[in-house]
Point group: C2
């Protein structure tokens, strides 16, 4: 019997990859407008920036300083500020849930299900996203890897979510975009897994059995059919 | 002969004190709304926060964490995020120049004067404000204490502004709100000083001769009369 639905956050509830790409590209344009004079194209500068993000992590606080150093420039504070302003303005413009997220969460709550978020990242940053997305009131629990000390796919973070909602792992549906983190981790603790084909992992195929989800959806609204079917099936079980 | 006008930034070109007060009060309200359960009133929490700002400086990155610790709470990331979101949203709403700033700067440029900003703080943060205020294109130079290594009223930061604009200090008008930093510093290097009665130093009286300005104004637009008068006087001098 399904009693709870757990969600990954980035690329599962809002277009995180698209946001990051647009924000970084606008930041680069803003640096050029503010006077960055360089032989590289916008696209080449973007590639350099992507490499910095890969090397130093997406939460490093000084990507634009590093970019200027990397292309042999002093980190001119005017250029850095222009990039920061463009990055933030773009981020806030894109920080909206996918269109069917809120009606779907509402329906799931009306069906009597507990809802949770299980996400990787810095606690304050992930909460900031939930608040800006207007989603913070929908969830009974929010679990962030920084607070637990382990990242997905570690079983502990999934088990902690079930524990906080007072349900068993097998009573949980887990919805996420990443086969390697979300699906693998939730499969290992016995949750029902739903992969959403969104964001930069959209076309990534499962590498092994553990990464194969029980269901696949292409937008959050389709989750309702999955959950209804699971509930019907368990009713059927009950009657047997 | 006046050839340049230099401006302090915070509380001289936009309502910095009002912004900080509104942003901090809204941050406290947001923490209470997000579930902060405490015996202190909003006003008392604001006083605690003000004390943190005085003790740790306005550029400390974790005021809201410190506030929670100070009142004996764990720094719950949900509460911190709620405060951060409210603080930033309020900040952006208030980050507008005083209504007559842009027409005044435009007129001063049309009069053939060089314009500069001389401000204390972190370089990227001060540039971010100028960009968000839409003022970054108006100035021929921007000098930020972090880049020079001294704060106002140190003479070096004022002399550097004159040097960059290729004018003598006595050819500069300096406009600022703080008698102890702006007026004293600019007086000492022989600039013409204009005190603007704005922000939290509005009612502070000069403590000594060095803090007494040549002119006082209550809004930026009044600067035009001062500058016109100075230009007329120096024309008079020329004819003598």
């Amino acid at each position: 019997m399904i009693k709870a639905v757990l969600f990954d956050l980035d690329d599962t509830l809002y277009p995180s990859s698209k946001l990051a790409e647009a924000a970084r590209k606008n930041a680069i344009r803003a640096m050029i407008e503010a006077g960055l004079d360089v032989d590289l194209t916008e696209e080449e500068l973007y590639e350099e920036l992507q490499e910095i993000v890969r090397e130093f992590g997406s939460n490093h606080p000084r990507h634009f300083n590093l970019l200027l150093r990397r292309i042999g420039r002093d980190p001119d504070p005017k250029l850095v500020a222009a990039a920061v302003v463009a990055y933030h303005d773009t981020k806030f413009a894109y920080l909206k849930p996918y269109p069917d997220v809120i009606p779907t969460l509402m329906k799931l709550r009306e069906m009597g299900l507990k809802l949770g978020v299980v996400t990787s990242g810095l606690a304050v940053k992930q909460w900031e996203k939930l608040i800006r997305l207007g989603l913070h009131h929908f969830f009974h629990t929010v679990i962030i890897s920084e607070e637990i000390g382990v990242e997905k796919p570690h079983p502990r973070i999934f088990l902690e979510a079930a524990r906080r909602l007072k349900v068993k792992p097998e009573e949980c549906v887990f919805v996420g975009d990443r086969p390697d983190r979300d699906i693998r981790g939730a499969n290992r603790v016995g949750m029902v897994t739903v992969r959403i084909r969104k964001g930069r992992y959209r076309d990534r195929e499962p590498k092994n059995e553990e990464e194969v989800p029980d269901f696949e959806i292409s937008r959050p609204g389709e989750l309702l059919d999955v959950v209804r079917r699971l509930l019907r099936e368990s009713e059927g079980d009950g009657k047997d």
